[in-house]
Amino acid sequence: MFAAGCDVGSLTSKAVIMKDGKIIESVIIKSKARPWESADEVMNIVLNRAGLTMKDIKSCVGTGYGRDKISFVHEAVSEIACHGKGARWLVPTVRTVIDIGGQDCKALRLDDKGNMVKFITNDKCASGTGRFLEVMAKVMHLNLDELGEMSAKSKQPVTFASACTVWAQADVIQHLNDRVPIEDIAAGVNNAMASRMSTLANNIGLERDVCMTGGVAKNSGVVNALEKQLGIRIKRIRREDPQIAGAIGAALFAAEKANGGAK
């Protein structure tokens, strides 16, 4: 029995196909202007790679900001629920999940059974979201991966007077003009990002194990900085790409639905 999850985000769209509790295929694409176009494309690609058609999928759950606009899903489930579910599947001992999306950030806490205890989101301010890193990488002429790796070489990270993306961007440009080493600016950017995330995470009360999902979880500079600021170890997700955690959660919900609602 095949179940699928489709997570349409602001920047990327993800699809996962599962069979008997195992991932058989997953895909990440850049989102299109219209969420339903992203959904159709990512789903077509994942089905193709798996050698399946939509008819083979017994149940499909959609999530992400565009979830209500996906034509082929049987049900839409909130991102919070999907990220919690996906994170627990990836790291069974997880109790706190920090998810950084392209335009938002969330922190959520689960109990020992995986039920949601508490969550908090920010989608009002670009600071602490993927957008912050994107803006900084752009003015530094780096791609996002480089921004993460580069900070490891820093000896003297810069600091920013304000968390605001607009003001921090002006500071980054100033530092570049002042010939500050690029790795020190990169480390400063990652620290600023982590500091904003840690405020959010501390607000829901941290409990071990802590893990990070979303694309930013692949940025070692941010993860290391966040670990330092929270004073707690962050369990790295190695089983799968942390960016597909939401889609995994959606596929797990789909499988439950197909199996008749067992948890």
């Binding site: 335009q103 009002k124 301010c125 670009a126 957008r131 803006v135 304000s162 968390a163 605001c164 993306t165 607009v166 003001w167």
Partner: protein
């Protein structure tokens, strides 16, 4: 007796010269990277305009974020104190001053003498400051000073769903792509900036009469939007951008006259 005030802001530098309780010259220039140079430039030009010499200035008070670098000042005052003082001098009935500058916004409650009772200040978030307007004007390829006239042509009702400058910029680009009228978009932008500044101002409980100062007050569309957002009538001052420098010049006159008002 001639006194002067010099206000070094993030984007502009302002100077006001007063003689016997009257403004005899004022000048606004774009600030350079060196605040010392901005201060000297703007004061020299104001001095020329007044037809006096630098030595004729009996006392000069400096204010603004770059005030520590003004080489010729005799003493300094906070921007909050100067804006309060300048606003009450211009509009004696003023009890609330909302000042929107290039990189900050402040709301100040004042008593009838121009003393500061309480104030709130935002320089941590670009939303609700002049920078919001600057960034959007730039991405719409419109001159900052043309925004006001443009918004007066607005017909449709458009509101922005984002308060964050970064997210609002993306939203505005998609509104342009959807074919929405630029005038309507600019009007929505003014409302967004005004709503943010108004929510800051509500933190000190806005009391009439209210005055809007700072460079952003020169934008008629912003002025009208802020009036709507605050729900009180706003008073106009002649040149809202020099209000801080004016307050500084008034403090300078106090020093010379040996305190009091």
């Amino acid at each position: 007796m001639i006194t002067a005030g010099c206000d070094i802001g993030s984007l502009t530098a302002k100077a006001v010269i007063m003689k016997d309780g009257k403004v005899i010259a004022s000048k606004v220039i774009l600030a350079s990277a060196q605040p010392e140079k901005s201060a000297t430039d703007v004061m020299q030009r104001a001095v020329e305009k007044a037809g006096i010499k630098m030595e004729d200035i009996g006392y000069c008070v400096g204010t603004g974020y770059g005030r520590k670098h003004i080489p010729f000042m005799n003493s300094e005052e906070s921007e909050i104190a100067c804006h309060a003082r300048g606003a009450v001098w211009q509009v004696p009935s003023a009890r609330t001053v909302v000042d929107i500058g290039g990189q900050d916004a402040k709301a100040i409650r004042v008593d009838e003498k121009g003393n500061v009772e309480r104030y709130v200040y935002n320089d941590k978030c670009a939303s609700g400051t002049g920078r919001f307007l600057e960034i959007i004007a730039d991405s719409l390829d419109i001159k900052l000073e043309d925004l006001g006239a443009l918004s007066e042509k607005a017909k449709g009702k458009l509101t922005l769903s984002n308060q964050c400058v970064v997210f609002a910029e993306t939203e505005i680009i998609s509104l342009v792509n959807e074919g929405k009228e630029i005038a309507d978009i600019v009007n929505a932008l003014h409302q967004a900036v005004a709503n943010r500044a108004a929510s800051l101002a509500r933190g000190i409980l806005v009391e009439p009469d209210a005055v809007m100062t700072g460079g952003v007050a020169k934008n008629a569309g912003m002025f009208a939007s802020l009036e709507r957002a605050l729900g009180v009538k706003l008073h106009k001052v002649e040149d809202p951008q020099i209000n801080g420098a004016l307050g500084a010049a008034l403090f300078a006159a106090d020093k010379v006259n040996g305190s009091g008002k």
